[in-house]
């Protein structure tokens, strides 16, 4: 947990220049055309205007990522740095990650016959060689900064203490669905920025794990139970129906013999 990295996005500082979007495109070799305010398979981040403020949309790099837990083949991975990355070679294209992501982030190459799931990697390749994510590097207003998650949380708290009128008392991503590695601070409520406010504070994968983890024990108990039921009834019927069964069988055998002739 300690050396996990994160991004802090301060909506109050964002000037809407979209330098992050451009830097992201360049870093990921994506085409220049297209809307800069929606995520797509060729755009990992977007800048959207809401109520006269600008905010970003991108993968939140959840602390306990839903997408990682739902992927049947483990094609998504939470790395030690906090970045959530994707392994194309494993992916079967079932799109459960897209369906389940609470922020509806992953996108799909719908026009391809070998489709990839696409989403922000928090510039994991750059991080590995010691660089910071391209968006944080490009931002001229320091509205997106990169650092240790703990430190960024401390910075965010300090900003609220220094300017209580400009910051609401909530850091989005500190606890939402178990917390995220992309944190938001803002002057307006987060639902107005399009972030979901109906998330539980516990990690979402717990909801399925509560059920899934019971399966082995359930199977053993249930199997034993069914076998027991079978055995008890079988014994009883054997005793009660002996004569009847024999006669029925005799009829059957007789019939079979006739068929064979």
């Amino acid at each position: 947990m300690d050396n996990r990295k994160a991004l802090l996005i301060d909506v109050n500082l964002c000037v809407g220049c979209k330098a992050c979007v451009e830097a992201c495109r360049e870093e990921n070799n994506q085409p220049e055309d297209g809307d800069m305010s929606v995520l797509s398979s060729t755009a990992y981040t977007a800048v959207i205007e809401k109520e006269e403020v600008y905010t970003r949309k991108m993968c939140m790099h959840c602390e306990v990522p839903t997408c990682v837990s739902v992927c049947p083949v483990g094609a998504l991975e939470k790395t030690e740095s906090g970045a959530v990355i994707y392994h194309y070679e494993k992916c079967i294209g079932c799109r459960y990650c897209m369906q389940a992501c609470p922020y509806s982030v992953p996108t799909y190459e719908w026009a391809s016959t070998k489709p990839k799931v696409q989403k922000c990697t928090m510039c994991y390749p750059r991080q590995k060689v010691g660089d910071i994510p391209a968006c944080a590097e490009a931002c001229p207003a320091e509205a997106t900064i990169f650092g240790d998650r703990d430190e960024l949380l401390a910075i965010a708290r300090q900003r609220r203490i220094d300017e209580p009128e400009t910051y609401i008392n909530h850091i989005f991503g500190e606890h939402e669905a178990g917390g995220t590695s992309v944190l938001f601070t803002s002057s307006i409520p987060f639902d107005e920025l399009g972030l979901p406010m109906n998330l539980p504070m516990e990690p979402l994968p717990n909801l399925t794990w509560d059920v899934l983890s019971k399966i082995p024990r359930f199977s053993v108990f249930f199997g034993t139970f069914l076998y027991g039921v079978w055995w008890v009834i079988d014994r009883r019927m054997e005793i009660a129906d002996k004569g009847n069964n024999q006669l029925t069988e005799a009829v059957w055998n007789q019939r079979n013999q006739k068929d064979e002739v």
């Binding site: 995520l39 797509s40 839903t66 837990s69 739902v70 992927c71 049947p72 083949v73 483990g74 494993k90 992916c91 079967i92 294209g93 079932c94 799109r95 459960y96 897209m98 369906q99 389940a100 609470p102 509806s104 992953p106 996108t107 799909y108 190459e109 719908w110 026009a111 391809s112 016959t113 070998k114 489709p115 109906n198 998330l199 539980p200 979402l204 994968p205 909801l207 399925t208 794990w209 059920v211 899934l212 399966i215 359930f218 199977s219 249930f222 199997g223 069914l226 076998y227 039921v229 079978w230 009834i233 079988d234 004569g243 009847n244 006669l247 029925t248 009829v251 059957w252 007789q254 019939r255």
Partner: protein, 400 residues
Amino acid sequence: MKLPFKLTFWRVLFGIVTLAGAYAVFVRVNQGLGAATNLSDQFPWGLWVGFDVVTGVGLAAGGFTIAGAVYVLHLKQFYPVLRPAILTAFLGYVLVVVGLLIDIGHPLRIYHPMLMGNFQSVMFEVAMCVTFYTSVLALEFSTVVFEKFGWKRPKKWVGKVIVPLVIVGVILSFLHQSSLGSLYLIMPSKLYPLWYSPLLPAFFLISAISTGCAMVIFESHLSFRAFGHRLEKHILKHLGRVMLLGMALYLVLKVQDFTTRGVWNLMFENRMETYVFWLEMLIGSIIPIVLLSIKKVRLSTKGLYVCSIFAISGFLFNRMNVTITGMTASSGVNYIPSWMEISVSLAIVGMVIFLFALAVRYFPVFGTPLKESQKQKLNKLSKIQGENSDKVSSNYTHIS
């Protein structure tokens, strides 16, 4: 020109649907999901997941229900519907897998969950259960094939392991039928609260069992019309009782769930979800429960048939609502399946019916009719034994 078969309305329809479906699959394979479907990044799961997979698996639940009743509970009176139920389930599952292959982006990697499974994923669990259960169904049905070719030895072998086999099948079915509901447990903020519930797995399991019985009733009527195999009233009567029981339990759980979650007010909000939900509950629960509670209906073949239609439609509504209607609000888009998606789904249904008819023609799915003399003997026998005549009065052989 003379055709080798008679042209009927249903056959023409089947031909058209199959052609359309085949064309859609061709487009899907050559141009990707985008060209064939109305799916989008906002709405990644549509009709193919909702109907072909989630609903299809549920409708095939008759297989494990009847197999469990016959072999585990020794309710031999269900034997005459065992083979058709297993056959339907087997064909259903095979086509669920076909549907899955069409829907996933990398069908050639279908074996990946086996090799690199993620134990935290409900999808992984469903994939494993469906794989193993389809094999179990194939084995369960294999006795019919062996019987047809007179291979006594393999039939005996399967017969020896049939009880553990059925038990494994029942466990696998309980697991994945409920897990189809568990798929949605992780989306509390996305699935509309009329449908999202921590009890989703229980709802899915119970409704699958009662609908499995409804399907057997429904099918037996259709096969009576198509193949002339009449089914005994008393079997249907029992199925009707199980159906009623399942539906009542479902309704009680629903009430309990709505109370604990405190969402009764949602039932009276003026929005699309509310109306569809009411419709679902009326068709799938309230009307059939009321009908089945009337003894006259429960004991009449026609009445049961009507109830089974209600139950199946309600079930369809429910699965469509969980997978599509309930996800609409949070997705922000209005997904309506493309004609290609619809035609593939219809073609899959057509395929199941077609293969079923084919199998009935070549394999002793309905057992071999007893000869008059044998019937008399059996009847006499039951009188001597003072037995409930239910047990042996069937027109078909009861051999396991």
